[in-house]
C-alpha cells in the first residue's frame, strides 16, 4: 500500500468514527442543554457560585456572565503565572514576565492557546494543571454556552430569554467535557502519553550520560486540549512530541477528539430548533469544506514543491516518521478548520501552498466544523448572510428558521464577520510598517511576511497554531496578539448574543411556497459559496503577498 492510499483510508476511518459518534453525542448534548434537572455536583457548584441556575437571562445578562467569568479567568491566570516563583509544586521555575503572562492568560481564556513560551522550561505543575488546563475546560464550555444561547434565539419566540449562563457553562464542563476528557485521557495513557508528577528527573541514555525529562499531567491536559479545541501543548513541540502523541493511532484519535464536538453540535442545533435536517445542511457544509481542504492539502504535500523539499525527496521537514505526510495533512487541516491550533507537524515547513491552506482554514472563521460552540455560531452567522444574499437575489425579505432577517439582524451579522478581518489586517499592516517587529522573523521574503500574517490570523480567530519561526516573545507581539485574541473572541460574542436576543423576541414567520428551503442541498451549495467568496475576497490580497507568492514560485 502506498502512502497516498493509506492517507485516504485514514481519512475514511476518521469519517466513519465521526459518523458513529454524531447521533448519540449530538442528541446527548441537546438533552444536556434542554434538561431542567440538575445533578447533585452541579447544585454544589451553583451554591459555590451563589447563582440560581433556573433564572432565565436576557441577552445583556447572559453577556455579562460571559464577560465577568472570562475576566476573572484572565486575572486569575495572570496572577498564577506572575506568582509562579513563590508557588509550591512549580519545580522552582521563575515567574513569567508581565507581557508574556498577559498574552498567555488572554490566550487560554479565549480558547486560542497561542504560546509564546516553551512549556517544558517555563510552566510548572501548578500553572499547567490548575491554570492552563482549567481554561481548556471552561473556555470551551463558554463557547458552547454562547452557541446554545444563539440556538435558543432561533428556537424560542416572543421572549427575550436565552437561558442561564452559569447553568449552560457548568453543564458543558460537568456533563460533556469532563467525562469525555477522562475517557480520552485514559486511552492516551494506555498508548504511551505520560501522566505523572515526578517533576524533572534524569534518565539514562544509550550511549551513556543522562537526559533530563519533565514529568507532568500530560495525558489529562492533552485530552481536553483536543476535545475542547484548545491546542496549547504541554511541550513546545505540541502534538508532535512523542509524549503527547506517541503513535499513529493516537494521532487519528486526537484528530477525532478535536472534531467530534463541533460536528455533533449541528445535530444538537437541529434537535433544538425542531428539525434535524436543518442541522444536516450545516453538517454537509462543514464536511464539504473539511474534506475539500484535506484533499488539497494531501495533494500539495505529497507533491512536495519547494526547493528544499524537492532536494530531500519528500515533505518530511517538520513531520514525524510515525505519522508521515498523509496523517499530518489531515491533522493540519483539522486543527486550522477548528479553533484548536494543536499541531503534529510544523506548518511553517509545509509547502508554500500547504501553509496557505492552513492559513485560509483559519481565515474562514473556523466554521468547518470550527471550535467547540464558536464553530456553530460562526456557521449560523454565515447561514444568515447566505440567506440574506439569496433574499436579495429574489427580492424577498430573507428569513431563516422562521425568523425574519431584518436590518438589525443583518447589521449584527455583518459586524460579526468584519471584526476578525479588521483585527488581522490592521495588526499585520502595523507590524509590517514598524521597524522592529520584522526582526522576529526566521525566514525571509514572502514566508517572513506569512509568519506575521499567520500570527495575527491565528490570534484574532482564536486558533493558536503558528508559523513558529516567528519569535513572538517580544513586548510588541505579546501585547498586540493578546489584544487581538481578546477582541477576536469577545466582540463577536457580543454580536452573537445581541442577535440571539433579537431573534428570540420575534414571532415565527409561517413557511410558505416562497420560503428558501434551508435544509436542502441547494442551500448547502449557496452557503459553501458564500463562505469561500466572502472570506476569499477579504483576505485574497494578503494571501497573494504571502503563501500564494511562495507557493507559485516553487
Amino acid at each position: 500500500m502506498g502512502p497516498v492510499l493509506a492517507g485516504v483510508l485514514q481519512l475514511l476511518a476518521l469519517i466513519v468514527a465521526l459518523a458513529l459518534a454524531y447521533t448519540p453525542l449530538g442528541t446527548y448534548m441537546a438533552r444536556v442543554y434542554s434538561s431542567d434537572r440538575h445533578w447533585r455536583v452541579e447544585r454544589w457548584i451553583y451554591k459555590g457560585i451563589g447563582a440560581d441556575p433556573d433564572t432565565e437571562m436576557r441577552w445583556p445578562a447572559y453577556l455579562r456572565g460571559v464577560l465577568a467569568f472570562s475576566a476573572a479567568g484572565v486575572l486569575f491566570l495572570y496572577l498564577l503565572q506572575r506568582l509562579q516563583g513563590v508557588l509550591p509544586l512549580s519545580l522552582g521555575f521563575r515567574s513569567i514576565d508581565p507581557d508574556q503572562a498577559f498574552d498567555t492568560a488572554a490566550s487560554f481564556v479565549t480558547n486560542t492557546n497561542w504560546q509564546s513560551y516553551y512549556g517544558e522550561q517555563a510552566m510548572g505543575h501548578v500553572v499547567q494543571t490548575a491554570g492552563l488546563a482549567v481554561q481548556n475546560f471552561v473556555s470551551a464550555a463558554v463557547g458552547i454556552a454562547v452557541a446554545v444561547a444563539l440556538v435558543r434565539g432561533f428556537a424560542r419566540s416572543r421572549t427575550g430569554e436565552l437561558g442561564n449562563f452559569w447553568a449552560d457553562m457548568v453543564r458543558g464542563v460537568v456533563r460533556v467535557l469532563l467525562p469525555g476528557a477522562f475517557l480520552a485521557a485514559i486511552v492516551l495513557v494506555a498508548c504511551g502519553v505520560i501522566q505523572n508528577f515526578s517533576g524533572i528527573h534524569e534518565i539514562g541514555q544509550f550511549m551513556g550520560g543522562a537526559q533530563q525529562w519533565n514529568g507532568g499531567a500530560v495525558a489529562s491536559q492533552e485530552a481536553i486540549k483536543e476535545l475542547g479545541t484548545n491546542g496549547g501543548g504541554y511541550f513546545n513541540a505540541n502534538s508532535a512530541h512523542p509524549f503527547e502523541n506517541p503513535t499513529p493511532f493516537t494521532n487519528l484519535f486526537e484528530i477525532f477528539l478535536l472534531l467530534v464536538i463541533p460536528f455533533a453540535l449541528t445535530r444538537t442545533f437541529g434537535i433544538m430548533v425542531g428539525s434535524v435536517r436543518q442541522g444536516y445542511a450545516l453538517l454537509a457544509t462543514m464536511a464539504t469544506i473539511w474534506v475539500g481542504f484535506v484533499a488539497l492539502m494531501m495533494w500539495t504535500e505529497f507533491a512536495h514543491h519547494g526547493p528544499a523539499l524537492q532536494i530531500a525527496g519528500g515533505a518530511m521537514e517538520g513531520k514525524e516518521v510515525r505519522f508521515g505526510v498523509g496523517s499530518s495533512s489531515i491533522f493540519a487541516v483539522s486543527t486550522t478548520l477548528t479553533s484548536t491550533g494543536a499541531v503534529d507537524s510544523f506548518h511553517s515547513s509545509f509547502t508554500g501552498l500547504g501553509g496557505g491552506i492552513t492559513m485560509l482554514g483559519i481565515m474562514l472563521g473556523e466554521i468547518a466544523p470550527g471550535g467547540t460552540g464558536s464553530g456553530l455560531y460562526g456557521m449560523l452567522i454565515m447561514a444568515i448572510v447566505a440567506v440574506f444574499i439569496a433574499g436579495l437575489m429574489v427580492g424577498r425579505t430573507p428569513e431563516y428558521l422562521g425568523k425574519k432577517i431584518g436590518t438589525r439582524e443583518i447589521k449584527l451579522a455583518a459586524c460579526y464577520i468584519l471584526v476578525t478581518p479588521a483585527l488581522v489586517l490592521v495588526f499585520t499592516a502595523l507590524a509590517m510598517a514598524l521597524p522592529t517587529p520584522a526582526h522576529s522573523m526566521t525566514n525571509g521574503g514572502a514566508h517572513g511576511f506569512s509568519e506575521i500574517l499567520y500570527a495575527y490570523t491565528s490570534g484574532a480567530n482564536n486558533n493558536g497554531s503558528a508559523f513558529a519561526g516567528l519569535n513572538a516573545d517580544t513586548q510588541w507581539f505579546n501585547t498586540t496578539i493578546g489584544l487581538a485574541m481578546l477582541l477576536g473572541r469577545f466582540l463577536p460574542m457580543v454580536f452573537v448574543l445581541a442577535l440571539a436576543g433579537s431573534l428570540a423576541e420575534q414571532r415565527p414567520v409561517p413557511v410558505t411556497a416562497g420560503t428558501l428551503r434551508t435544509e436542502k442541498p441547494l442551500f448547502t451549495g449557496l452557503l459553501v459559496g458564500a463562505i469561500l467568496i466572502i472570506t476569499g475576497l477579504t483576505y485574497f490580497p494578503a494571501l497573494a503577498l504571502g503563501p500564494l507568492a511562495e507557493g507559485l514560485a516553487s
Partner: protein, 211 residues
C-alpha cells in the same frame, strides 16, 4: 453610578467563585483521578515507556536520542532541538522544529549537506549509496526533534555500514532491521517505521554476543 459599580463587583465575585470551584474540579480532582488510574493500570506508559539495556535505563522507546556513534544506526537530524534558556539550573531538552520554509536557503544547505553525509557515511568498500536512494526522513528534521523512528528505507541504507563496523554478516543485520520494522497500525494508520533505540539495543546485544 455606585449601583453599577456594586453590580460589577458582585458579578466579578460570582465569576471568580465559579472559576475557583471549577479549578478544584478540573484542575485538581480531574488530573489526580487520571493520574491515579494511569499509575495503577498503565504504570509503564504513564512514566515514559522506559527501555532497559545492560541492567540500566537506556532511555524511552518514544524519545529519540541524538549522539549514537557511527557503529550504530543513526536517527533523523534534529536541527530544531534546543536547551533551556530560562530556569537554567536544569538542563532541559526543548522540543521543536526548525520552522524553516521550503525555500529557506539555510534549510536547502542543511538538506544538501545531510544528503552528502548520508551517502558518504553509508558507502562501504563493497556498497555504494546513490543520492537518489536517500529517503526524505534521513535529511530533514522532525517536528519534535525527538522523532524516535526512521523509515525502513533509511535503516536499510545503513545496514552495510553497521555490519562492517560491528564485524557482523550483512544478512544478520538485515534480519535485525526486518525484525524491528513496524508496519502501519492496523495496516493503514501512519507509516512503516523502525525504532532507532530498540534497534540499536538489539544490535549491541547481537554484536556483544558474537564478540
Amino acid at each position: 453610578m455606585n449601583n453599577s459599580v456594586a453590580n460589577i463587583a458582585r458579578l466579578m465575585g460570582a465569576g471568580l467563585r465559579a472559576l475557583l470551584v471549577l479549578t478544584l474540579l478540573t484542575g485538581v480532582i480531574y488530573p489526580l483521578a487520571v493520574t491515579g488510574v494511569a499509575q495503577a493500570l498503565f504504570h509503564h506508559t504513564a512514566n515514559g515507556s522506559q527501555v532497559r539495556a545492560d541492567g540500566g535505563v537506556a532511555g524511552s522507546s518514544l524519545i529519540g536520542q541524538q549522539d549514537y556513534s557511527l557503529d550504530y544506526f543513526q536517527p533523523r537530524p534534529a536541527k530544531g532541538l534546543g536547551v533551556n534558556s530560562v530556569n537554567t539550573r536544569y538542563r532541559l531538552i526543548l522540543s521543536g522544529a526548525t520552522n524553516r520554509s521550503a525555500d529557506n536557503p539555510e534549510l536547502i544547505a542543511w538538506v544538501k549537506q545531510a544528503k552528502a553525509e548520508v551517502v558518504k557515511e553509508n558507502s562501504t568498500a563493497g556498497y555504494q549509496v546513490e543520492p537518489s536512494q536517500v529517503p526524505a526522513d534521513a535529511v530533514t528534521s522532525s517536528g519534535s526533534g525527538l522523532d524516535p523512528d526512521i523509515s525502513p528505507a533509511y535503516a536499510g541504507l545503513q545496514i552495510h555500514r553497521v555490519a562492517e563496523r560491528n564485524h557482523l554478516p550483512v544478512a544478520r543485520v538485515e534480519k535485525l532491521v526486518e525484525d524491528h520494522t513496524q508496519g502501519r497500525t492496523f495496516g493503514f494508520m501512519g507509516e512503516p517505521r523502525v525504532n532507532v533505540l530498540e534497534l540499536n539495543i538489539a544490535l549491541r546485544e547481537l554484536a556483544q554476543g558474537d564478540g
